[in-house]
Symmetry: D2
Subunit: 387 residues, 4 copies
């Protein structure tokens, strides 16, 4: 029987700056998994799954939590649960993951139109940005009134200023709008800003809190909100095919980092990002946005830098990149930081002689690398995806 076509064995995320989703389960997590509960979570009978849900809900000051296998699932069922009867639309940042990277779930599941807004300050949406794009429910039968504002914290690695969130929340309450947070990296926002999850919980009607990114769990997220909201979201989770059976092991492994000193782990990854940002600034390498937390976004357009060259320069130094976004996480080593500095500056120098104009909606160019890198070293095919 012919051999399976298997990918190469994934050894470590220590040199993987493509995304913080590459964090790998630790030995401590594996040990914990052996003790996990074995109930069927669809029937609400798995202890560790319930413990995880209530732990994260309590941290966010919410009545209930729902374990979901991905952030896309928790975002999309949260938005669907807030929306009642169309025609309606949701408003979000034009870079929001719910709009750009969740494969049209908003249209398919929620039948929702989207008003994607470019922040006037370039970094995050202000209340004024929202008010000037919000579609009021004034009885106009042509329209699709805005029913929900979906924000992302962090977005593009930027920490959402708390006072702006408070202003937006007050206005939402006055206008009967729901406020959801894609908290794929809300742990990073909390760690960096010192704002406790509970305070974010007071602002947002629901938060999708990812576990498998900076927090290092194998899979999943927890969607938090009030009891009625989570009960209905559970129905949508089943409808989406997200109802899973013995999830105890996955829940127990996620609880390990939650019960550890996650703030220090995350702040370590932020420090690497801050250092790289300073390095770039010193070198005149333009960045897209302030590197508040674990991401550094190299402005490929302004630098006229070919993302494919950047990826290959990374490989030259045995560092994995996917494009303009450099994603630090707690498993990245200082050695990798030093190497990525070299890769970026060489790619920047290369761009000065070979300016590249990428004309696509995102700075990330699907890197169809050839067999040979710029320096002639053989490279296996890299399947890189947009961040």
């Amino acid at each position: 029987m012919t051999e399976f076509e298997l990918p190469p064995k994934y050894i470590t995320a220590a040199n993987d700056l493509r995304s913080d989703t590459f964090t790998t389960p630790t030995a401590e997590m594996m040990e914990a998994a052996l003790e996990a509960s074995i109930g069927d979570a669809v029937y609400g009978e798995d202890v560790d799954t319930v413990r995880l849900e209530q732990t994260v809900a309590r941290m966010a000051g919410k009545e209930a939590g729902l374990f979901c296998v991905s952030g896309t699932l928790s975002n999309q069922i949260a938005i669907r649960t807030h929306l009642m009867q169309p025609p309606y639309s949701i408003l979000c940042d034009y870079r929001a993951h719910v709009y750009t990277h969740e494969a049209a779930g908003l249209a398919i599941l929620s039948q929702a139109m989207v008003v994607p807004v470019v922040p006037s300050n370039g970094d995050y949406l202000t209340l004024e940005d929202i008010k000037s794009h919000y579609v009021p429910d004034d009885g106009d039968i042509h329209g699709a009134p805005t029913r929900l504002i979906s924000l992302e914290n962090t977005l593009h690695g930027i920490v959402y200023p708390l006072e702006e969130l408070v202003r937006i929340k007050a206005w939402c309450m006055e206008n009967g709008l729901k406020l959801h947070c894609d908290g794929a990296r809300i742990w990073n926002a909390a760690a960096q800003s010192g704002v406790p999850l509970k305070q974010y919980g007071e602002i947002f009607d629901s938060i999708s809190i990812c576990l498998s990114k900076s927090m290092g769990a194998p899979i999943g997220s927890v969607l938090v909100g009030n009891l009625k909201f989570v009960k209905k979201a559970t129905h949508f989770r089943k409808q989406q095919g997200g109802g899973i059976r013995q999830s105890g092991m996955m829940a127990r492994m996620a609880l390990v980092n939650i019960n550890n000193d996650w703030k220090s782990q995350l702040l370590y990854s932020h420090s690497l990002a801050h250092e790289l940002a300073e390095y770039c600034e010193a070198k005149g390498i333009p960045l897209e946005s302030p590197a508040d937390t674990n991401f550094v976004f190299i402005n490929l357009k302004a630098a006229r830098m070919d993302p494919d060259v950047l990826v290959k320069k990374g490989l030259k130094y045995n560092v994995k990149l996917m494009g303009g976004r450099v994603s630090f996480h707690y498993q990245v080593t200082r050695d990798t930081l030093e190497k990525v500095k070299l890769a970026i500056s060489e790619a920047f120098d290369y761009a000065k002689e070979h300016p590249f104009d990428c004309n696509g909606p995102t700075q990330i160019y699907r890197s169809e690398s050839t067999e040979v890198d710029v320096d002639g070293n053989a490279i296996r095919e890299i399947k890189t995806y947009k961040y």
Copy 2:
């Protein structure tokens, strides 16, 4: 039995600049209606309906046409018919009617995401605008690849430059994208630019050609495309509830203006608009876009003009307005043009003393007029809708 609560009798559109949909059936049309065929169009057995469909299809150089009761119906079933299997998205101008004023049909019927693009030149989308926002189908499972470009001609009253359309069409064909045209006012574009409908027909895979706006028919539009496209669109028309029975009278009345000198009628309405635009420019009243055809868009934001005051000033001179868009059509009189000049300049002067900052997505503010206008004259409630 209590009397019905009926609206006031609508007498004439001569002074109605709210929209060109207010054009009223002419005596000639009424006469024609008496001779109309009486077959059941759902079974394809109504002569005048088939005659209208084939007349307009032939004018646009297309194989077939489908009579629809509204432009929203023909636009939405056209887009649905071009789209096969989600996840996908369509790309259009951020002001496009299919996106802003068709009550989320794109999400509900077609499960489509929308990439609304702000034209870099402020007037119409260039090929570069499209290429820099187009989502390629590169296998990225996060995305919703662009499958269709939907343009509008005219949009905001602006005639789409033919050469730009030709460039966009060539690129669409290279990239396997369909190109639809919301031709609510394509007659206006053709009349003003001299580009025959047939040439537009060569560029667009489908065109929704409205009959009830500048062309003065009571209801409807004709969706033109190839035979296979129209056959499938017929199925979606029935699904949307748009299959109608004895439509002969409506078809026959639409054919009257199509067989008349429609170009002169439209060019007359354009001349009124051009004259108003010049008047405004002379007075320093800012406009949003060039008044190529029958619309003049007063830039309420730049003029800091309260649309509600503008509407009431119009009523003072017995001219009906809905906000910043002044919509001429062939039934508007020169007398109305003179009166609307006065109304606009008084509203502009009023704004200099009472600057108004409208913070909404459209310049049109839903005019909740009081019982009394600015000059004390009693006014019945106006139900005005966004243009």
Copy 3:
């Protein structure tokens, strides 16, 4: 320029038993149309459209009415308006038009699953039929709870017994379910049973009341319900592309028969159907259901009768048939009744020698007639559709 490919001129519905939608506008209607109002109904400014809506609403004892271009449109927007947030399902008769002949609108517009029930008595659903198929909302996340019961009166020409409707209504109210009526032929039910429309209005939360079938109007229906319901339905009507402009003529023509002695007209058509039913029974020709009103359903399966032969036998006597359903309406002549008796009995005799077993979901076989009928007479291609 080549001639248009036009269908033959449709002269009269006097011999057309395919469907009561073939009723043609009368001279009286054409006269009335000349006096019709000319306002834009999307803005609520057309007098005759508002008059039609309030007339029919008042007849049904409802707060408001909404003119729609087809029964499919009013049925589908009614059901969508009653449904709030999925997952949910509606329950109806397995032969219901909303389920079998509205091109999947329930799934596309309303995202609704359907529980189609076969009536235990073979004619209409009883409360027990409904209770034994109803999906309770008991928190089971696997299910799609029943939110709405959609009944049809008449269905298959059968008048729904009032007392059964009253029982079903009471149970619906106890269980928080909405009750919609597809009233494509509710006029026939009212005329035959003597139950006033107003009494049906007390039972059903909404009724889609067709105008273009037995009532002979060119197009449309009126959806009646409470004010809040109709306001939201208007939004869905626009979304479906059903918002039409100068609909005064169509409204005025519909009002003609409403203000005439429509009961006598309908009872005349019922009398023809009753006579044909008695004729069939006397001949041993099996019927599918009691011919309460204007339909006679020949049981093709039991009679082992080929619908294609029946259609062609009809043509032999210049009578148009589409299959097992014989649809009488007030424009059918007694002469046509006598001829269809001959056609049916000849087809029945033919079946005795050429038994035909149609194995399709409906008794109607899409009649791909050849150029020559059974008796050798040349026949134009008939495009017949399922009833």
Copy 4:
């Protein structure tokens, strides 16, 4: 801080006859998990996930496989991937899980209507059942043509006769219809009938093969089909929120039983079921269908047995039941078999004195158990769901 409200610790599935989803991970599986790969499966970089997918695909003779977190997810994305452009419908058994227990996914994700068919033989759909309910694509714009037949093997524990599947497949190919199999218990069908998975793979275009039911894995299923099909299904999996990161452990644990002697394990569970079926028959306790494999369906309606009493009688003997379906799996002990015999016969005797008429669409009554069982023993609340 108040204690969490945790469910009781789930110890063993040995006495759990509610569903075979309650099978718990074995020590062997836990050991295997420790060696699992740690790549990110969204990027196709996890070795064990790819190995699982290719193992199951190869067993079913298919080009590719896709690991999904649930059978609902793999069923719904399979059906969506086969369907191109609505309006369309799918045809299935009225008891099919895709129709009754996947929370309206067919309407929400696929916009599909469903034709649920009652098998004429009471057990499984024959080709004739399908042909007499299939909606042909004959151009009828009222309809929603059948595009896909979704069968379930086993369904209701019944093994689908191979020759019937072969007949159905041939007819589907003639009529251009896709054929999907919900293989939640296809392992049971294969074990019992001796038909290899590969032969089922030749018949069905796609099969959703569950791992977490009789095969005992913690979560998931593998959807198998051709390469193009699986590539598109991957896009829908991401859209549904089913893209998960480090799934190596879950994949490795599923491979344990696949690489063990699963047939013996399953046949053991079947033997228990057969024994119970014989016991019931001997006692005159009516069954709904032949107990071919691991399920015994007590006909509650015919036995006039209250499912709530049955559940409580089970608890009296420390055996967990959810209603009429008794689900055996390889972790159930002979002791449990003996006890469930007692529970069922006592409930049956109880029914003779207290006949119960359950009037709901399914024989399973949501068991709102009181604090005390029929024999006075205190019982914790059971959250039982429909099978």
